[in-house]
Symmetry: C2
């Protein structure tokens, strides 16, 4: 399973066997079953997680009506955590649970900062990943501000076709911020 | 004006005089008047810009009705560009213009990558900045998904009180994605 992490890093920077062994020693393996929680709201967020296999969702639960708003899906080669809580080492405001059985490689903030400080190329890797993430979020904000629900649905289908095979429609609706009924109309 | 950039970098990492002179040699100074464009939709986006003084907005113009959707404001100590176009060296899908007279320090992607490769601490600086930016955008998405317009207005007023002194109400409305009339009701 560590091959996937290595391949993922080497999409941005080549690393030696020795460097990879060193990096890997800072991660721990975690396996979860479908429906289990990786992070529950209120937990201290110690780790960021690289998804080796499976699918998860990060969401905010409205305290008034219990409604779920999905911030992010993550599957193979994605990273997921409550980033605000992780970087500030505070308690999670999000829930992250498993839509499928999941294997992740987890790294603490302390270890992440350590490997970045020890290896310039890893600092480079994480800077690049963060830049890509920043761009993706800006595009999502623009999409939320400027596109109709129909356009956002079609954009999502075109960007992530495989997600629609793996995720129930109700969760797609929750990600787009629309009702299940609206989504059914759009997908006809 | 370069003092501001140095202070900004040293909030994250200390640098020597020699290092700062080296860094600064990769930036160029640009001065613009109120209403001028820093970037126009369709321009090749060569530079990222550190704001030394003044205030700008980045926005998308709807081709159908000409309506402006503001993605970002930037003022002293913020960075602004069309990040997607900058990192991909493509044409801008955004307009960025000046709400006040502006002074920026501009850096090309090539120079940004060069100073990151040459100085590990600068790669660290930009990774940290990108992480902070990522968190802020996730919070904005959550806010768009879960908060009412009233809540988002109050959050913005609480986070950036000085912005309300510097920016006309119509632009606040455009950032929040509501009509000027709705905003007037909220701000009473």
């Amino acid at each position: 399973m560590s091959d996937k992490l290595r391949k993922h890093i080497e999409e941005i920077t080549p690393i030696t066997d020795k460097e990879f062994d060193y990096l890997l020693s800072h991660f721990s393996v975690k396996k979860l079953k479908k429906h289990q929680f990786l992070i529950q709201q209120g937990d201290l967020v110690k780790n960021d997680h690289f998804v080796v296999s499976g699918l998860l969702k990060a969401y905010h639960t409205n305290p008034d009506d219990g409604k779920e708003h999905i911030l992010q899906f993550a599957w193979e080669n994605w990273w997921i955590t409550d980033f605000q809580a992780y970087f500030n080492q505070t308690n999670s405001t999000l829930n992250i649970d498993c839509i499928e059985d999941v294997e992740v490689l987890s790294i603490s903030l302390e270890n992440r900062e350590k490997i970045c400080a020890d290896l310039h190329k890893i600092e480079h890797f994480f800077r690049k990943k963060s830049n890509f993430g920043y761009i993706a979020l800006q595009q999502r904000i623009l999409s939320l501000l400027t596109h109709s629900t129909k356009e956002r649905y079609e954009q999502m289908l075109s960007n992530y076709p495989s997600l629609f095979q793996r995720v129930p429609k109700s969760l797609i609706a929750s990600y787009l911020g629309v009702s299940r009924e609206t989504l059914s109309r759009l997908s006809k």
